[in-house]
């Protein structure tokens, strides 16, 4: 089975382990991820607030390339890339004139029909039903699932899961034997790109998330977004400072959790790459 794959910049840099774990899990389930050749930046997180045309042209080029390369479904693990691609596709489909103009800019014509899915949809569609057969070790841990903001928004366009109280990741975690805890910060803001300009705010916002998770006894926080991950993981020293104590709870990608459950080696999943060490698992 062949499915298109758009990594985006994060998966080549700060979220290498996300890239590795997505690919490792796909491989474990005999799914061939075909990376879009000559892909470019999706435009997140600055383009859409600076230049509307650019914010449409960048994703449009990616989608046009995918179409050219015979890809009709593309999995986009990064939540920001997913959001940009999906929103641009929707906006171009709604506005024929804009689409023509954008085609002119990217010097390619395209139908704009490539199906864009995030990593949860990808797992739900191709992997979920087969997990039980492949599971070697139940992921028996108490976890909280953190969805962040972009994975399911805007709901009108994404049309996936419940917007204020999503459950899809919780269901997946239950499938691999974890007990997913009820908590209050599923979709709270992590501070996102303020990570660079206002690290203090990220420490506060992400700190509240981490605090609630640990107070409920979570052994890990499950995420599906490189931005969320870097704020909750890389900014841990600042978070610890805000909370006033050292919090050891690791933040892992959902693909890493699933990978562990189906017996993929931790190194192949990039678990050694986190700032907050994943020892307890």
């Amino acid at each position: 089975m062949k499915i298109g794959f758009y990594p985006g910049c994060s998966l080549q840099g700060t979220a290498r382990e996300y890239n590795e774990s997505v690919k490792a899990v796909a491989e474990a389930f005999d799914i061939d991820l075909k990376e879009i050749e000559d892909w470019n930046c999706c435009g997140a997180s600055a383009a859409h607030s600076v230049n509307k045309d650019l914010s449409l042209a960048l994703p449009a080029r990616i989608l046009a390339l995918a179409e050219k390369q015979g890809i009709d479904e593309v999995v986009v693990p990064c939540a920001a890339c997913f959001n940009r691609l999906a929103v641009a596709q929707y906006e171009l489909n709604e506005d024929a004139a804009k689409k023509a103009e954008t085609e002119n800019v990217i010097e390619m014509t395209f139908n704009n029909k490539v199906k864009i899915i995030n990593v949860i949809q990808f797992i739900d569609k191709y992997i979920k039903d087969k997990i039980a057969d492949k599971m070697t070790r139940k992921f028996e841990h108490k976890v909280v699932c953190y969805y962040g903001c972009l994975l399911i928004r805007p709901h009108k366009i994404i049309g996936f899961d419940r917007v204020e109280d999503p459950m899809s990741m919780d269901e997946l975690m239950t499938t691999i034997g974890a007990s997913s805890l009820d908590w209050g910060f599923k979709t709270e803001c992590c501070g996102a790109s303020l990570s660079i300009a206002r690290t203090d705010l990220v420490a506060k916002l992400s700190g509240n998330i981490i605090k609630d998770a640990t107070e409920r006894g979570a052994e890990a926080i499950i995420v599906a977004c490189p931005m969320c991950h870097s704020n909750l993981d890389m900014r841990r020293p600042q978070i610890d400072e805000y909370v006033g104590k050292e919090i050891p709870t690791p933040v892992i990608y959902i693909t890493q959790a699933i990978g562990l459950a189906v017996g993929v080696a931790p190194e192949k999943l990039g678990l050694q790459r986190h700032f907050v060490k994943v020892n307890t698992l």
């Binding site: 709901h155 009108k156 419940r162 917007v163 204020e164 109280d165 459950m167 009820d182 908590w183 209050g184 609630d212 107070e215 409920r216």
Partner: protein, 691 residues
């Protein structure tokens, strides 16, 4: 054959009157109204009248400042008599405004009223065009079209329909109770059917009512007893409308009487059975799931009728075939397990639909944790907690552990005014009942702290705004303008995260002991199906639609069926009672007439001399598309032998609404709408085209 009445001969007679097509013989009068300056400011009325007088067949034409006034009408009447007019065209405002006025004037002058037509020179011409020659020309053309039409109009007689003097009221809430009592007190017979085992509806569940804080049960239960005792009211509980056929004044209702498994005539209502039933852990509907009941039960102590029914879904005997405890203990032998549902049919003259509403209980807002956290409840559940007859006997105790909540949060507009997740409309009652809830809470928990999150406070109504101010100022309810983003549980507390938009969008976090959601008012389950069964229209939210939002608020588009209460839209008690009395007056005025007069503007299948009898070929395509089930089969029989010579369509004039769908579907052009026959319409259109 019960629909067959002697009055249909009227229609057939009028159909047999020969066409009056001779143009030369016509003596039409044209009357152009200035409508003050409404028409004459842009249309040269005098020129229209002059041009009309030159039209073929026009005997008399004139213009006048106010044709609808008494002198105006006299002008028409005099002209009809003096000039022996046999047709009238009035160029004036919309026929919706004054067609009836002018037709009545013609009728008073001895002319058949259906020989009078209205040319709409106001809405169609003067109000929508500039003053210029073309505008006047358009007015002349419209008048010309109608002159040609009226030449071909045939006199019609109003249809007389008999009236069955009995009303059916569907739904025994406060709307149904009020409507039934009002109709019955006017001396008319009423059949009141209620789906549940008792009448009383949502009002019987309420604690105290805004804005006076009088006890809901105290004002309602005497009325319920009145219903039971009124000799003009026949009450069927545990009953539903199965089928409704017929038409205004002549409905036939089939009612399903669900087997109660208890013989009402033997049962004394002693209640022994309900104390003995072993199935005693069923969530009580009356208490909105906050209390329990037995499988044989009366919903509440003041129920009318105060006799139990067996809920077969939960009864051990019905489910497992063993038990019969209630039968063993019943001192009068009233328990009858094997009785099936019964069906009765009733002849009905008018119907009042009062099926009420419900509140959203689904997982519309998972972020508020309803269904997940026991102490997140909806407004109706809070009513039960605050009610003296409720599961806590009126003490505010939270469902999870029975503790008195010291901090309570009310969230208004849960689902209302929220097109993305809920419904776009305002549920209207929530602002007031939330203020009342907070007030009742403060009255009962003196050291308690209550907060209301709201969008706007909509307190339009007599003494309503004052009531809300009282909650804020005297009872110190904390009103926060802003939405709540999420409710979650932490260390036994419900954390309510919201925003205060009046304080610069400041995030607010409250550690509450209990949260009450003012969930949107929605149509009852099954409302859509019921509407289809009765052929009344409903809106996208399955609320029933009134015939006119302002001027016909209790009528439906189906004659003889009326609406009252919250089945139309969320309504509070005063408004519900007002609409119920309104509907009752409509019913009484209908039932008090010996016969009904209907406009004869209905479809008819043509008839002609034997051996053809009619050009209808009996394909019955019309029958399949008629939205009012008005078309039936008619057998034309040989008078001597009784042999069926031909089967043709026959349109029941009582049912026909004159929509004309059958006319356009008829393959042999055998159907015409009286007053709008093909010939008449073609004449009008042709005249317009050949200017």
């Amino acid at each position: 054959m019960w629909l067959q009445r002697n009055w249909d001969c009227n229609v057939i007679l009028s159909k047999l009157i020969p066409y009056k097509v001779s143009n030369i013989m016509s003596r039409i009068g044209v009357f152009i109204c200035h409508c003050g300056e409404n028409i004459s400011a842009t249309v040269d009325c005098e020129r229209v009248a002059k041009a009309s007088s030159e039209m073929e067949g026009v005997e008399f034409a004139t213009d006048y400042k106010y044709m609808c006034s008494d002198p105006g009408q006299t002008l028409i009447k005099t002209a009809i008599k003096e000039h022996h007019l046999d047709g009238v065209v009035v160029g004036s405002c919309s026929p919706r405004m004054h067609e009836a006025t002018f037709r009545r004037a013609c009728s008073e002058a001895g002319m058949n009223p259906y020989l009078c037509e209205i040319a709409n020179l106001r809405e169609h011409v003067s109000w929508v065009h500039e003053k210029c020659e073309a505008t006047t020309n358009k007015a002349i053309e419209i008048v010309h079209g109608l002159v040609e039409k009226v030449k071909r109009n045939r006199p019609l007689d109003a249809i007389e329909v008999p009236v069955t003097k009995k009303a059916l009221v569907i739904g025994g809430g406060i709307a149904g109770i009020q409507a039934s009592l009002d109709i019955a007190n006017c001396g008319q017979q009423v059949i009141l059917i209620e789906k549940g085992p008792s009448i009383g509806g949502h009002m019987s569940q309420l604690s105290e009512t805004f804005p006076t804080l009088d006890c809901s049960q105290c004002i309602l239960t005497p009325r319920m007893v009145e219903v039971a005792q009124n000799p003009n009211i026949t009450l069927y509980t545990y009953a539903e409308l199965e089928k409704l056929e017929g038409f205004i004044g002549n409905f036939k209702a089939t009612i399903r009487l669900q087997a109660k498994s208890v013989d009402d005539s033997k049962c004394t209502g002693c209640g022994l059975c309900t104390t003995k039933c072993p199935q005693n852990n069923i969530p009580s509907e009356f208490n909105e799931g906050l209390g329990t009941r037995t499988a044989i039960f009366t919903p509440f102590p003041q129920a009318v009728p105060n006799k139990p029914v067996i809920d077969k879904e939960h009864c051990k005997y019905y489910q497992k075939g063993k038990c019969k405890v209630c039968q063993k203990f019943c001192p009068t032998g009233a328990i009858e397990y094997d009785k099936p549902d019964e069906f009765i049919t009733e002849d009905i003259g008018a119907v009042v639909v009062t099926t009420g509403f419900n509140v959203l209980k689904t997982e519309f807002f998972p972020e508020y944790g309803y269904g997940k956290y026991k102490d997140v409840i909806n407004g109706l559940q809070f009513e039960r907690l605050a009610s003296a007859s409720g599961p806590t006997l009126g003490e505010i105790r939270r469902p999870s552990d029975g503790q008195i909540p010291k901090k309570i949060v009310f969230i208004a507009c849960c689902g209302s005014r929220d097109p993305a997740k809920g419904i776009p409309y305002c549920s209207k009652i929530c602002c007031m009942y939330t203020a009342k809830h907070a007030m009742l809470y403060q009255h009962k928990v003196h050291d308690g702290d209550s907060t209301v999150f709201y969008m706007d406070v909509r307190a339009g109504g007599k003494n309503y705004e004052e009531f809300v101010r009282r909650a804020v100022e005297e009872d110190h309810v904390n009103y926060v303008r802003g939405r709540v983003a999420r409710v979650y549980e932490k260390s036994g507390k419900l954390i309510v995260k919201g925003v205060d938009t009046l304080m610069g969008a400041k995030p607010v976090e409250i550690e509450a002991d209990m949260v009450v959601l003012a969930t949107a008012g929605v149509a009852n389950k099954g409302a859509e199906e019921l509407a289809q069964r009765m052929h009344i229209s409903y809106d996208p939210y399955h609320f029933f639609t009134e015939a006119h939002p302002k001027l016909k608020p209790v009528e439906t588009n189906t004659a003889g069926i009326f609406l009252a209460g919250a089945c139309q839209a969320p309504k509070d008690i005063p408004e519900t009672v007002a609409s119920a009395s309104g509907a009752a007056v409509k019913v009484v005025s209908l039932l008090s007439r010996p016969t009904l007069i209907r406009e004869p503007l209905v479809a008819v299948v043509n008839r002609c001399a034997p051996p053809l009898f009619s050009t209808c070929v009996g394909c019955f395509m019309c029958q399949t598309i008629c939205p009012y089930q008005a078309i039936e089969r008619e057998e034309i029989k040989d008078r001597k032998t009784g042999k069926v010579l031909k089967v043709i369509a026959r349109i029941n004039p009582g049912l026909c609404q004159g929509c004309g769908t059958c006319v356009s579907f008829c393959r042999s052009k055998s159907i015409d709408i009286q007053g709008y026959t093909n010939e008449e319409m073609y004449a009008e259109v042709t005249a317009l085209l050949n200017k």
